[in-house]
């Protein structure tokens, strides 16, 4: 089981801030493909991953990164702090 968090317009498109999923995905990209295959709203949110960022256990990471041992995955657009 893995916690998936969504922020900003990713959260709005998918329609929820977080969920728990059972997955056998080996990498972030695998997980994205799994989610996108679920429903239209996921497909839309993940249509262009170059417009997205991912954090694994609260550290910025890559879509090619492995998921083994990861408990929390977050998807969001590029940050706009400051």
């Amino acid at each position: 089981m893995i916690d998936i968090l969504y922020f900003a317009w990713v959260r709005e498109r998918i329609g929820l801030p977080r969920e728990r999923v059972e997955t056998a995905a080996e990498t972030v990209a695998d997980l994205v493909a799994e989610l996108a295959a679920r429903e239209e709203r996921y497909a839309v949110a993940f249509a262009d991953t170059s417009a997205l960022r991912v954090a694994l256990d609260q550290e910025l990471s890559e879509f090619s990164a492995p998921l083994s041992g990861v408990r929390e995955v977050a998807f969001f657009p590029p940050m706009t702090g400051g």
């Binding site: 968090l5 922020f7 900003a8 317009w9 954090a55 609260q58 550290e59 910025l60 977050a74 969001f76 657009p77 590029p78 940050m79 706009t80 702090g81 400051g82």
Partner: protein, 146 residues
Amino acid sequence: MRVRVQAEPFDYGAECTGFGQGGRDVGAVVTFLGVVRDDSGTLAAMEIEHYPGMTEKAITTIAEEARGRWGLADLLVIHRHGALRPGEAIMMVATAARHRAAAFEAAEFLMDYLKSRAPFWKKEIGADGDSWVAAKDEDEAALTRW
């Protein structure tokens, strides 16, 4: 070194008072204050979303790097989240160093990294609808100078 992430307003003048002073080895203090601007004239509020837990960690990592790299005597970062009105303070950084170049560079480094590497997202709530502020290429490009 202090890092604060909060919904509440902060008092910029009070934070500046005495910051980095009192020792004999601080010659330069630089502060930056970010304020909600209203370019369109129709902004009702700026809604700032963040990623609790990661935000504090990401800012602390950036702040530690700045402190080490420029040998800062003191450093402060405050960043708000929630709904802010035009003219309200969003965030501030303050740096204290021996020399002015270090204090300036560290403050600019902090700003560049907070802008693109701390998990905050701004949404403009306007008279004619809401829209997420898009990250600018120039903000990402600004990181290459460090």
